[in-house]
Symmetry: C2
Subunit: 124 residues, 2 copies
DNA sequence: CGGGATCCGCATCGATACTG
DNA sequence: CAGTATCGATGCGGATCCCG
């Protein structure tokens, strides 16, 4: 789908990026890789996510076959989310990115400061 | 910034994801890695991007120190975009993701069809 | 050619309330 | 506990026009 260095709208990279591009989705994948977790556990583990978003993202991850949802008939009901093998391979593919983030964030922030200072000069 | 398995709003992973999450940004990085390119070359290479988005994303990538912008004083003006060393390392970190996408997209699509079929059953 | 400025609709997302 | 439903703001992103 990459023909002649053109990224068509339907190329796999773009389709996957549309999903991985969702910041919440990636965070959930990275969390579930460590451990099976329940709904409210995830909610507490991801600062700032609303339950609407969480529910929505979990559903879409399940739909994509990346995580598995297990309902346990307790009172009240318990729901466990865990990785599928497919999800595990995706999480592994995301790893280098997380490593890069931790290693290079400060360089990015420094670049931003340089850029902003330069823009401020121009304005003056 | 990842303390006790909690992803705080300010953790590097989340900050970088906010940028890599931008689907356009990643595509531009992958394109510029191959070659220096001009504005309209990029525009044509990325199906569906508006010039507003392209301009915006290029600016933010430059601000992050990931790409370099070179203005050449011709008539009319020529502007070349190219990778910085930092950008190159990020592109490398994104590579596994692209590979994963190309290898596993059809599994994801299949999972979606299974999920949707199952939902349709429940509705009936 | 390489953008900036403006207008504006539509989808996202958060907040709140309610349910099995 | 684990969600769904509804509403309302806001901001992203496309379209258009213009400029150096």
């Amino acid at each position: 789908m990459r023909n002649g260095n053109v990224y068509a709208a339907a190329c796999p990279t773009r389709q996957i990026l549309d999903r991985v591009g969702d910041k919440w989705a990636v965070l959930i994948l990275l969390l579930l890789r460590d451990d099976t977790r329940r709904f409210n556990q995830l909610r507490r583990a991801i600062e700032g996510i609303s339950q609407k978003m969480l529910s929505q993202v979990l559903k879409s991850l399940e739909r994509d076959g990346l995580i598995r949802r297990r309902v346990i008939a307790t009172v009240p009901v318990t729901v466990e989310y865990s990785m599928t093998p497919l999800g595990t391979t995706l999480a592994a593919a995301v790893d280098p990115l997380r490593d890069w983030a931790e290693k290079n964030l400060k360089d990015v922030l420094a670049a931003q400061r340089r850029y902003d200072a330069q823009q401020a000069d121009k304005a003056a």
